[in-house]
Structure formats: structure tokens, C-alpha cells
Symmetry: D2
Subunit: 86 residues, 4 copies
């Protein structure tokens, strides 16, 4: 990952981690289910954004050199797998 | 939420929270992007499972009484909204 | 399904079907992959919208009577299953 | 796209198109909503599979040459965009 990408991802994951802790408190406080579901969706949205940053960084730092170095097959397989799981 | 549902959800969210912390460590340790992406997908999967439990509980404890009490319109709107965000 | 819901769904599915046919033409014409992918995403988006209309209709015409008639368990299971597949 | 990829994609999209037509018949026949929803999910699943084949083909025929030719920036942006929409 690029240094900037890594910093951004760590910052975002820390915020997401705090968000998740607040959701646990919501459930303990017996808050309305629909409100809790809205928050879990938001956390999933934050993780999706993080994944996009990681992918961008991965393409720049790993895939470009791999494709140039004629070792593209492994990288392609991994990218399709990442896309499949999404 | 039902008491059992609440207990299950809290337990699962605590595990997910621990999982997310480990991902932050992975990023700090500059682990391979594709491995990190696999873990963020797993966390999203855990959250989806939690959402299913919350929905099940919500249907039992909130929606059934609401539909019986002729106050179905608000509950339906909320359910469609929850489905839409998914 | 409600009559209005049914009409709306059929209309939307016919449009989606036409959209899909155009995508097949795009692939035959060897159009740029990224443009094709944008269109398949759009079709999936149209189907998601259709599903929301069907769910809304299902809640009104099937689930409300089922919950009132104390036959809620089967309907709840089905709803959670629908949500799970989403 | 590769020739094999193109053939496979057209074949799959034709099957998906037939599947969608059957869903329209289901809705006209007032079939049970939950069964219709299961079929729309299946169509979305088929489209996701088609997208994976297109992406695989795109990486081989477009992205590898683009990365080798030092024109990676545009391709990376497009890939992240494709991933984002997913």
C-alpha cells in the first residue's frame, strides 16, 4: 500500500471501530432495531469505502509492477477473486 | 428485540469488533492488500449475519404486534427501507 | 401482489428485458468492457428496484393478513430468507 | 474481450434473458411474491457471474497492455469505479 493510503485506511478503520462500539451500546440500551440496522449498514458502507482505497493502492503498488514484470496471471486471479467476494 | 436475540447480537458484535481491531494491526504491519480485503469482506459478512438476526427479532417483537394493531403502514415503510439499504 | 404493484413490476421488467437485449448487442459489437459492466450494474439496479416494489406489495397483501391470522412464523422465515439472499 | 470470453458472455446473457422473460410470466400469472423474489435474485446472481467473466477478460486484454504501456492511471480509475459500483 502507499504510505498515504495506509494512513487514510488506518484512520478510517479506527473511526469505523468506534462506530461499531457505539452500535454495541445501542443494542445494550435496547434501542429501536431499525435504528440499529441503519448503523450497521453505515459501518458496512465505511468498510466498502476502505476497500476501494485499499484496491486503488494495491493496483498502484502491486498490480502495475506485477503486470510489467510479466507475472500478471496471479494478480489477475486475485483481482477477480476480490471482485467476486464483493 | 428478544432477550436471546439481544445476547446473540452483542456477542457477535464484540467478536466483529475484535476482528476489526486485528485488521487495523494488519494494515499497520503492511500485510498484503488482498489478505486485508479478504478480512474486511469477512467483517461485512459478520455484520450481514447480525442484521439478519436483528431483523428476525424485529419482526417477532415489533412488526407482528404493529400489524395486528392496524398500525402496519409505518412498519412496512421501515421494512422496505431496511431492504433497500441492504 | 396489488394490481398496481403487478402492473408496475411488469412494466419495469419489460424495460429491463429490453435493456438486457441491448447489452447482448454491445457484447456482440465488442464494445468496451467497462461500458458493458456499467450497463450490467444498471440492470441489477433495476432488478433491485423491482424487488423493493414486490416486497412492499407482498407485505401489504400477504404478510399483514398472515400476521393478523396468527400464522406469522412462516412469513417471518420467508422475509428473513428474502433479506438474506439480498 | 477475448473471443472465448465473448462467446461465454453472450451465451450466459441469452440464458439470463430467457430467465427474465419467465419471471415476467410468473408476475403475470400472479405467482407467489417470495418465489418471484427468489428468481430475481437468481438473475442478479447470473449477471454477477457474467461481470466476473468480463472483468477477467478485461484485465487480460486491456489492463495488462495498458499497465505495460505506462498508461495505467486511466485503467486504475476505471477498475476502482467498477469495484465501487459492485
Amino acid at each position: 500500500m502507499t504510505k498515504d493510503g495506509q494512513k487514510d485506511v488506518i484512520k478510517r478503520l479506527n473511526i469505523t471501530s468506534g462506530h461499531l462500539k457505539k452500535i454495541i451500546e445501542m443494542v445494550k440500551d435496547e434501542r429501536y432495531c431499525v435504528d440499529v440496522l441503519q448503523q450497521t449498514e453505515a459501518v458496512k458502507g465505511s468498510l466498502k469505502k476502505v476497500e476501494e482505497i485499499i484496491l486503488d493502492s494495491h493496483l498502484h503498488t502491486c498490480v502495475v509492477p506485477s503486470f510489467k514484470g510479466n507475472k500478471s496471471e496471479k494478480s489477475i486471479k486475485e483481482l477477480v477473486e476480490v471482485f467476486k467476494r464483493r
